[in-house]
């Protein structure tokens, strides 16, 4: 299924912010990956690694002070970065929709949940009032919320239900691509499992492509076909889930996996990564991970390694990657 044309193709995406002090923070640098139709891709990384900024850049919803300075974002055959704001609006919700982080607070507390979904449909002039009303209830049912709860307010919903309602709202205009930003982070393990199961089900029935942003490597392993590991605003490693979890080549990916506790291996020791992620206003000149890397060599502090293919569909940005001896 991965042999076809990508639904979304991101190439060399670079985003910068101007801080209130007037400094330039490079939040994303040279980010590239593909999303195939019907595929789930995971964007993993720690806070500040650029996961959410990537989503916001793709949706062109960057906050004030942020701008995309380079790159191309192809959605089918259209470069989204070349569209006017007016044209871009046609793509949001209808072609690509987003489930925002913190579902607890993303719903309007003084508006009935059903009305909020209804509004999203009507704003895009997709159908008349009656059809939209039916669609609201169908969507709620699809995410496992009783039709009768359409007229309730967010505070009458539990956390898991609010997250489901957010997903229903994102699906309102039948998008081809769904961005989910930490959709399970604030939820209990059991509710998390329910939401992930729901995402898998709707993906299957609607043929949706999903970009899942999370810091939880376990969640990614459970649901993603391919994985982008981000560090300091760059892609550290990108490949199929199997590449990342079983053949990781970037030292950061390797350490991250060792640091993740595994319920199936009680008593295992956990590796930790000393130090903290880099400040985006003061990035190291060479590799972003160099100050914390356990395998670094002298050259790492001078060369900013590009993302290169080490085997089909497996990309690594590290000068110590396999088969790189020739470059050294």
């Amino acid at each position: 299924m991965n042999n076809g044309k990508p639904l979304l193709s991101v190439r060399g995406l670079t985003t910068e912010f101007t801080t209130p002090e007037g400094k330039i923070a490079r939040a994303l640098e040279d980010v590239s990956f593909d999303v195939m139709p019907g595929q789930t891709i995971g964007l993993v990384g720690e806070s500040g690694s650029g996961k959410t900024t990537t989503l916001m850049s793709l949706m062109r919803l960057l906050p004030a002070g942020g701008r995309i300075t380079a790159g191309k974002v192809m959605f089918n055959d259209t470069n989204l970065l070349a569209l006017s704001e007016r044209e871009m609006r046609d793509y949001r919700w209808k072609s690509m929709a987003i489930v925002f982080q913190g579902a607890m607070n993303a719903l309007n507390p003084v508006m009935k949940v059903g009305d909020q979904i209804h509004e999203a449909i009507m704003l895009h002039n997709l159908m008349d009032e009656d059809a939209a009303e039916k669609r609201v209830k169908d969507l709620l049912e699809m995410v496992g919320i009783a039709r009768t709860r359409r007229d309730q307010y967010p505070h009458q919903y539990s956390g898991g239900m609010r997250q489901r309602a957010m997903i229903a709202m994102a699906l309102a205009c039948a998008p081809d691509l769904l961005f989910a930003d930490e959709p399970t982070t604030a939820l209990d393990v059991m509710i998390q499992a329910q939401v992930l199961q729901l995402l898998r089900e709707i993906q299957k029935s609607l043929g949706l492509a999903i970009v899942l942003v999370t810091h939880d490597l376990g969640v990614v392993a459970e649901v993603c076909d391919s994985v982008v590991v981000m560090y300091g605003g760059k892609v550290a490693e990108y490949g199929t889930a199997d590449h990342i979890y079983n053949e990781a080549q970037h030292p950061y990916t390797q350490k991250l996996l060792e640091a993740f506790p595994d319920v199936s291996k009680p008593g295992d020791t956990l590796a930790s990564i000393p130090g903290t992620p880099p400040r985006l206003t003061n990035l190291p000149p060479g590799c972003r991970f160099e100050p914390r890397c356990h395998l670094k060599i002298e050259k790492c502090s001078q060369v900013n390694p590009p993302l290169l293919e080490v085997s089909p569909k497996h990309y690594v940005s590290c000068i110590l990657r396999e088969g790189a001896e020739a470059d050294l």
């Binding site: 720690e46 806070s47 539990s158 898991g160 209990d188 393990v189 059991m190 509710i191 998390q192 499992a193 329910q194 199961q197 810091h215 939880d216 490597l217 376990g218 969640v219 990614v220 392993a221 459970e222 993603c224 889930a241 199997d242 979890y245 079983n246 350490k255 991250l256 996996l257 640091a259 993740f260 506790p261 595994d262 319920v263 199936s264 291996k265 009680p266 008593g267 295992d268 956990l270 590796a271 930790s272 990564i273 000393p274 903290t276």
Partner: protein, 335 residues
């Protein structure tokens, strides 16, 4: 070695009364209660790490708060080092202030549990001031320095005059740990100490707690909803559901040979970081019921995948299955 358990909890109940409408109280309708903790007993040996696991609303945080005296208990006994906590009886007892000198708590959110206007030195030294310990300025500086050092903030002097907002989440949680450890407590109660932290930093904090326990022989009650974290360093695991303990036993035993259907479900949904090991999950439908109106019989029966008729009527008690491994389920029998 001292054989007296560090902590013994016997028949602990904590009910929170629900606010009653005026009409209801005029009609003399009975008061209802949120049964946050409903008859829980366990003990903790010296140097042991007990993990208390469960979903939100299962009563795990209430237990932690009750242990350290932040909530008055409704019924039951807490015995710390052989002495009844806060009792007015003839028995040997220990007051709350004494208790808090020897037992300390670490809270979940390092962004909210530090005073933003105090320096790191003031924060870590405060417990010493409160308990009137170490009056000498030089000795106090030394105590703070060694606590920060132990918590992995080195060189400690560099942190003395800094404020919490200058530190990262991981560093803040280290300050929280340092200010708990400055009193050299024997018992640490950690309420989700790593759930707000990034993965790489999470491992550091867990390693730090593990080291402290090995070096100091400190006992830890570790409260969490995340079984994977627990697998890593608990000696025993207690699983809670709706105010009750449903299973307790040695960590490996509980994780590899779980008996209660709730424990089995929890383990099956804990994500495993390997796509080659995607497993069959037992995903419980619905959510934890309201702890005001508890289900009849076994309180897990409405969501239990294997419930039978008798589960609606009989409330199961913990029974010992193997040495130290207990479960409360009508369908589980002694092997």
């Amino acid at each position: 070695m001292n054989q007296t358990p560090m902590l013994e909890v016997r028949g602990l109940y904590k009910y929170f009364p629900v606010h009653q409408a005026l009409a209801d109280s005029l009609m003399r309708r009975p008061h209802s209660n949120v049964k946050a903790v409903d008859d829980v007993s366990f003990s903790l040996a010296r140097g042991e790490v007990l993990a208390v696991v469960g979903e939100s609303g299962c009563g795990k945080t209430t237990i932690a708060r009750t242990l350290i005296g932040l909530e008055a208990l409704t019924k039951g006994e807490i015995v710390f080092d052989g002495k009844l906590v806060n009792a007015h009886s003839q028995q040997p007892h220990i007051g709350l202030k004494q208790l808090r000198k020897r037992a300390q708590m670490i809270f979940q959110d390092p962004y909210e549990s530090l005073n933003p206007r105090a320096t790191i030195f003031e924060i870590v030294a405060e417990p010493l001031v409160v308990h009137g310990m170490i009056k000498d300025r030089k000795e106090r500086v030394a105590a703070v320095k060694s606590a920060l050092d132990d918590a992995g903030l080195r060189p400690a002097e560099d942190y003395f005059m800094r404020y919490p907002h200058e530190l990262s989440g991981g560093q803040r949680q280290r300050v929280v740990i340092a200010s708990a450890m400055v009193l050299q407590p024997e018992l640490l109660i950690a309420d989700e100490p790593v759930s707000m932290l990034d993965v790489s930093i999470r491992a550091e904090i867990l390693n730090l707690l593990r080291d402290l326990r090995q070096k100091r022989g400190i006992s830890i009650v570790f409260i969490t909803h995340d079984l994977s974290t627990v697998a890593y360093f608990a000696d025993r695991i207690a699983v809670m559901y709706l105010g009750r303990m449903v299973e307790i036993g040695p960590a490996r035993e509980v994780l590899q040979n779980p008996q209660h259907p709730y424990t089995k479900a929890l383990i099956s949904v804990a994500p495993v970081p390997n796509p080659r090991l995607r497993r069959e999950r037992v995903i419980l439908q619905g959510e934890t019921p309201n702890p005001i109106n508890l289900p009849s019989g076994c309180r897990f029966h409405p969501r239990c995948p294997v419930a039978v008729d008798m589960c609606k009527e009989n409330d199961p008690q913990l029974i010992e299955l193997k040495q130290g491994h207990q479960a409360a389920c009508l369908l589980v029998t002694k092997s």
